[in-house]
Symmetry: C2
Subunit: 161 residues, 2 copies
Amino acid sequence: MANNDNSTIVKMVFDRWNALLNNCDTKIKVLSNQQLQMEITPGKNRGIYILGHLIAVHDAMLPLLDLGTQQHPDLFEIFVNKPDKSVNIIPSAQELRTFWENQLGTLTPKMESIHVDEWFQRHNSVLPEEFEKEPHRNKLNILLTRTTHLSYHLGQLALLQ
Amino acid sequence: MANNDNSTIVKMVFDRWNALLNNCDTKIKVLSNQQLQMEITPGKNRGIYILGHLIAVHDAMLPLLDLGTQQHPDLFEIFVNKPDKSVNIIPSAQELRTFWENQLGTLTPKMESIHVDEWFQRHNSVLPEEFEKEPHRNKLNILLTRTTHLSYHLGQLALLQ
């Protein structure tokens, strides 16, 4: 009755990632550029910051998963290292939409190219000797933690209207 | 270099679940009963509704995971089947805090009693013949989907102040 081959487990996490990414894409498309400029609640992050934050965090998965270099280190600086409303000039909502679209078209196919067994190998911020003691710090765990991270912020974007 | 034994995979999902549950518990303890009565944003769910919703959804995991019967079917009716502000009399924030505390003390130990291999067996809303074709519909997938669900609503509770 049990089936625990690796492809099943990878599929479980991928299904969640894809479903949330699609929901997020739908929500972003429904929101106007003006709505994205709004704070979710007074004093909290704006929609545009969350959008830039998600692009930057997902972009930073590339080197961790051995899929290439970060495409947008500048966005990581603005939308991860700095809090919202602390940087004067940030990309426009329209520019961020383009980055989001391009990422949507390239990141998932790249991730799908990863062989099932490779998902259970260490990711690139873990040393081999650390991985020996902490075998859960594998590439699939990167996808899993980014999936719950995406869900957290999707819950917030969903409140914008 | 790869390590994909089942206990590693179960640990990965459990770590996420426990971390988010603890963050949620911390946030709930910081909020006053009065703050929980507030809508996260105007016209959207109140904090108290999200708290009741999480308790009800987590409670409903019990039968799905073969861990017993639902303890709070009444909460499921109010906080899942019905939208916020559609039921006149709901439990108080204080009552919900007690349910939350009790659940926190019992649900995770119960889940920890599930044998590693059992997590990869079908959950109780899947028929054996369905499971044969869709082996990802296992008990661990219940925990995974409830983990992203928890993260979604934690992102919203985090906005209450």
